[in-house]
């Protein structure tokens, strides 16, 4: 996933973080920086247009694939969308949802949350103290260079094939972008703002909460976004090895038993899952970083 929060500055038509533009009653008029860019984007016609915009390409792609599979010699391994669709409905709207999907999601979210906790916590520590950073950084660089999937065989021996192994693999892979981005974000806290906070007696946990973490939040969110994409990949990989449940396990099982439409349905579900999680993340990010997008827009306007 290449799109990061830092580069992502699209203005949403209904930004809940932006209060209505202040009334220019003073001689120094405030620059109207929250003006909506796309006129009519809020109206029902605009919504329909945007929906059509979003759905256009997927429809074309599915149509093309369908045309391809409708050919006489298209083959066993590329089932038609309708076959995949019915397999999808049959598979995932059954108890397999509880056997495979929920455990996978649980491991994914647990791993992601743990990685976020460790990454941000350690990142703040490293970002604030250059001596700790100098001590720990070489080791971190080494650990970071290890591809997380190679941990699977080791973790099977150490922790068995249960959830602990899978979560560990997810955490080990996800923690790096969060950690490194947090370190950068914390180091980039503006010295003037930091001095201001000191002058006004803002110290200790308040300083951490209102200055450090908020100031570093654009970078932290960028790290979390990368980590979320990694978490999905690692979740599947960790389940493909020794496992008895989960989406990765199910897809491999379908492939080995030549249940091809089912295998495709698994892939589609993973895609949907990734899309939903990423949308949820974007929603949260919009709430957390509304100020940042406005600030950047203001700087560009000057």
């Amino acid at each position: 996933m290449s799109r990061t929060a830092l580069g992502d500055t699209r203005s949403t038509p209904h930004d809940p973080q932006n209060p209505p533009t202040a009334d220019p009653t003073e001689q120094e008029s405030p620059v109207a920086r929250t003006t909506r860019r796309r006129p009519g984007a809020g109206g029902p016609a605009g919504v329909a247009l945007r929906t059509a915009h979003i759905l256009l390409l997927p429809t074309v792609l599915i149509g093309l694939y369908w045309a391809f599979t409708a050919q006489p010699g298209a083959g066993f391994y590329t089932p038609t969308p309708s076959a995949i669709g019915s397999a999808f409905a049959e598979l995932w709207f059954s108890d397999r949802f509880f056997v495979d999907v929920l455990p996978s999601l649980g491991r994914l979210l647990t791993g992601f949350a743990l990685a976020a906790l460790i990454g941000v916590g350690l990142g703040v520590l490293l970002g604030l103290d250059s001596r700790v950073r100098a001590t720990i950084e070489p080791v971190l660089e080494f650990l970071r260079a290890i591809p997380p999937p190679v941990l699977v065989p080791l973790m099977i021996m150490l922790a068995g094939i249960d959830d602990t192994m899978k979560i560990t693999v997810i955490v080990f892979g996800c923690v790096w972008p969060i950690l490194l981005n947090t370190v950068e974000g914390v180091r980039a806290v503006d010295p003037v703002l930091s001095d201001t906070a000191r002058c006004y007696g803002i110290t200790g946990t308040t300083r951490l909460r209102v200055l450090i973490l908020r100031s570093a939040s654009p970078q932290i969110m960028a790290g979390l976004r990368l980590a979320l994409a990694l978490a999905i990949i690692l979740m599947v990989i960790s389940e493909m090895f020794a496992s008895s449940s989960g989406l990765g396990f199910a897809i491999v099982q379908f492939q080995r038993t030549f249940a091809i439409p089912e295998m495709w349905a698994g892939m589609v579900l993973l895609g949907v899952l990734g899309f939903v999680l990423s949308s949820l993340f974007e929603f949260v990010e919009g709430r957390v970083l509304g100020w940042y997008r406005g600030l950047r827009a203001a700087h560009r306007g000057e």
């Binding site: 209060p19 003073e26 006004y200």
Partner: protein, 278 residues
């Protein structure tokens, strides 16, 4: 017109000392070379005084201000606020920095920015709301309480910083070239705002600037700093009327005279040959 800093200004004799800087020296040690930014600064501010510090660029004004604010330990010398030595940022001091865009919390509304230091002071909620409303009113930003700082113009952002400083109810207000980055018209308005707030609240103000006109227009007293390594080159009493006006005061013969004097002192300072005050 001028006095040496040993003698107390005539109209301030009654007031106790609020801020006392004694023998302040700051040397930056950077590897093999040590740079002496400030050599030996000694001056006092009486309670309720508005003093401007002016000096040639690069004369260590910011270093001095950071030492006074307790943000940076001096190499030698002491700073005392109301008789207490300043070793870390004291609760009775508020600072307004030049970089308004970087000294406000971009993720907080205007009123939250003003209120945050009051929360840290553990003031009750009602009192906080009162102080925020009063100080925003004093700087003319009542209508913008819920806006974010970056939605405002530069001059208005600096007003937010000033509102935050006065809501803090400091004994001493330090201002580090606060208007250096705003346009000329806004600057004139903000200068009058500072005078007005100072008269109303009776707060002691140390105003650092590189602008001679601004120093003379604002101050009751102007401290002229020498070139780096810095000493106090001159201490000028500004005997202009208390009521000042951008138009008439700046045309006043006395203003022109004082301005010329400070200018001459700074030119001397730039040459690096501190002359004793006339």
């Amino acid at each position: 017109m001028t006095t040496t800093h040993e003698s107390v200004p005539h109209h301030l004799g009654e007031r106790p000392t609020m801020l006392k800087v004694t023998g302040l020296q700051k040397i930056y040690n950077g590897g093999a070379t040590a740079v002496e930014a400030v050599r030996d600064l000694t001056f006092e501010l009486a309670q309720g005084e508005l003093v401007c510090l002016v000096g040639p660029s690069g004369c260590g004004k910011t270093t001095l201000l950071k030492c006074i604010a307790g943000l940076m330990p001096p190499t030698n010398g002491t700073v005392e606020l109301a008789g207490q030595p300043v070793l870390s940022p004291p609760p009775g001091m508020a600072v307004v920095f030049q970089e308004y865009g970087r000294s406000l919390f971009a993720w907080m509304s205007v009123s939250a920015n003003v209120e945050l230091p009051l929360k840290e002071k553990k003031l009750p909620k009602a009192r906080r709301a009162e102080l925020v409303a009063e100080s925003l009113e004093a700087v003319g930003l009542t209508d913008f309480a819920d806006a974010y700082p970056w939605q405002l113009s530069g001059g208005m952002q600096q007003r937010v910083a000033i509102a935050r400083a006065i809501a803090y109810e400091p004994q001493v207000l330090l201002m580090d070239e606060p208007f250096a980055a705003v346009d000329a018209q806004t600057r004139a308005d903000l200068e009058d705002l500072v005078r007005q707030i100072w008269k109303r609240l009776g707060v002691t103000v140390l105003f650092v600037t590189h602008d001679i006109d601004e120093a003379v227009y604002l101050g009751e007293r102007v401290l002229v700093l020498s070139n780096s390594p810095t000493v106090v080159q001159d201490d000028v009493i500004v005997d202009l009327p208390v009521e000042r006006d951008q138009l008439t005061t700046r045309q006043d013969e006395r203003f022109t005279h004082l301005r010329a004097h400070v200018y001459a002192q700074i030119q001397q300072a730039k040459k690096g040959t501190p002359t004793p005050a006339a």
